[in-house]
C-alpha cells in the first residue's frame, strides 16, 4: 500500500463524511482538508521534474481551496445564520448508502474505461469519479444554498483530482482559469445567499418560489 493509494482512500473517506454530516461548519472544514490534499496531488503524482509552475499552481490551489474558500463560506455561514442542514431531501443514513453505491459504481466505471496514460494508483480514477458523484449528489439532495455551494466545490475537487491522477500535463493557464471560475462562483454565491436570507429569512432553495414575506 503506497502513499497515493492511502491519500485516495482518505479522500474517499472525506466524501463519505461530507455525506453523513449535517453540521455546515464541519462540512466546510472537511472541504478545506480535501482541497488542501487535492492541491498537493500534482506534486506527488508527477513523473517529470517539477517546474516552478507546478509549485506555483499547488500553492495557489492550496491557498484558494484550503484558506480562501473556507473563509468565504464561513463568513457566509455567519451572515446568513444557519448552523446545520435540518431536513435534506435525502436523509443522512440514506445518503451514506447512496454514497457506497456511488463508490461501487465508480469502481465499476473505471474497470470499463481504458486509460491511455499510466495512472497514479488504481484507486485514483475511481476516487475522482466518486468525488464528482458526491459533489453532484450534495447539490441535488440538500436544501440549503450553502451546502449546494459546498457540493459544487467538491465537484470541482473531483475534476481536479481526475486531471492530476491521469498525469495530464498541467496547463497553468487552464487551471488558473478554472480556479478563477470556482472562486467567482463561491464569492457570488456568498453575496447571493446573503440577499436570499435577507429577503426570505432562510436559504432553503426549495421554498424560494413559495412566498415573498418581506417583498
Amino acid at each position: 500500500m503506497n502513499l497515493p493509494d492511502s491519500i485516495m482512500i482518505f479522500l474517499i473517506l472525506t466524501n463519505l463524511s461530507l455525506l453523513a454530516s449535517s453540521r455546515l461548519n464541519a462540512c466546510i472544514k472537511t472541504v478545506a482538508i480535501q482541497g488542501i490534499i487535492v492541491g498537493f496531488l500534482p506534486l506527488i503524482a508527477t513523473k517529470c521534474p517539477l517546474t516552478i509552475y507546478s509549485y506555483l499552481l499547488a500553492i495557489l490551489i492550496i491557498t484558494v481551496k484550503g484558506i480562501l474558500f473556507p473563509y468565504l463560506l464561513r463568513y457566509t455561514l455567519r451572515s446568513v445564520d444557519v448552523r446545520r442542514e435540518i431536513e435534506p431531501f435525502i436523509g443522512y443514513g440514506a445518503s451514506i448508502i447512496i454514497g457506497v453505491i456511488a463508490l461501487i459504481m465508480s469502481f465499476w466505471l473505471c474497470r470499463h474505461i481504458t486509460f491511455p496514460e499510466p495512472i497514479l494508483s488504481y484507486t485514483a480514477p475511481a476516487a475522482a469519479f466518486f468525488t464528482i458523484f458526491c459533489g453532484l449528489f450534495l447539490i441535488v439532495s440538500r436544501v440549503k444554498a450553502l451546502t449546494q455551494v459546498i457540493g459544487y466545490v467538491v465537484f470541482e475537487n473531483g475534476i481536479y483530482m481526475f486531471g492530476s491522477a491521469m498525469l495530464i500535463e498541467q496547463s497553468f493557464l487552464v487551471e488558473l482559469g478554472i480556479i478563477l471560475d470556482v472562486f467567482v462562483v463561491v464569492f457570488i454565491m456568498g453575496i447571493m445567499m446573503f440577499h436570499i436570507s435577507r429577503a426570505f429569512d432562510h436559504i432553503d432553495t426549495n421554498k424560494l418560489g413559495e412566498s415573498e414575506k418581506k417583498g
Partner: protein
Amino acid sequence: MNDFGTFLFRAHAGFLAALILAPLIPGVINRTKAVFAGRQGPPLLQLYYDLFKLLRKGTVYSRTTSWVFRAAPVVTLSACIGVLMLIPCTGASPALISFQGDIILFAYFFGIARFFTVSAALDTGSSFEGMGASREVLYAALAEPAFLLSLSALACLNSKISLSGIFIASTEHPFANIAVIALVAVTLVIVLLTENCRVPADDPNTHLELTMIHEVMVLDYSGPDFAYILYASALKLWAFASIVVAVALPLRTGSFITDSLIFIFGILAGAVVVGIIESTMARFRLDKIPKLLIAAAALSATALLLTLTRG
C-alpha cells in the same frame, strides 16, 4: 503424533486461558474509567467475585415466564463458548474447531444468543424489557452488515475464509494493506462497542429503564442465570477484542508462550482503550446510533471494495 499432541495442548490451553481470563476485561474497563474519574474503583477481579456470589444464590422466576426465559441464559452462554472454540483464543494457539466459512457461524452464534436473549425479554411480559428488546434488535440488524462486511474484507484481503486462516495470514503479512486494515479495525471497534453494549451505543452503568438497552433485557434474571449472562457477555467481549487485536497487532515472535502473552496483553490494552472511550465520550442519542452503524458499514464496504479491486 507428537505434533498433533502439541496442537491439541495449545488449542486447549488457549481456549482455557480465554475462559479463565475473560471476566478480567470488564474489570480492566471499570478500573480505567475509575482512574479517569479520579476514583479508586472496584477491584480488577470484581466480576469473578460477583460470579461466585451469584452462583451460590438461588433463582427466582416470574410466574408469567415460560421455558424460553429459563433456556435463554444457558443458550447464550453455550453460544459464546461455541464462538471461542472457533477463534484462536490467544492468537498463537490454534482454534479448537476450524473449517472453511466458519466466519458465518461465528456471526450467527451471536445471532442465536441475541435471539434467545430478546425472546426471553419478551417472555417476561414487561413493557420495559420489550422496549429494550426492540432497541437491541434494531442495533443488531445494523451492526450485523457492518460486521459481516468487515469480516469479508479480511477474508478477501487474506484469501482465507476461515477465522484461523485469517488470524494466521494477518500475522504472516502484517499490514499488507494498511488502509484496508485501518478501515476494518475502525469498523470492528464500532461493532465491538455496539454489540457489547458499551458507550457510545449503550451505557452499561445506566440504571434508568427508559435509557437502557441490554441491561434492561436481563432485569428479571437472578442467581446462577444472571451469572451465566454476565459471564457470556465477558466471553463475547473477549471474542470481539481478539479479532480486533489479531488485525491491529500482528506481532509474532515464534514462541508460543511469548505470542500468547503479547496477545493477551493486546486484549487487555483493548479493554483500556474501551475504558478511555467510555470516559471521554458521552453516550449518543438513540437516533444517532443507527447513523453511526451505517457509517461503520460504509467504511467496511469501502474496505471490501478496495480489496476486491486491488491490482
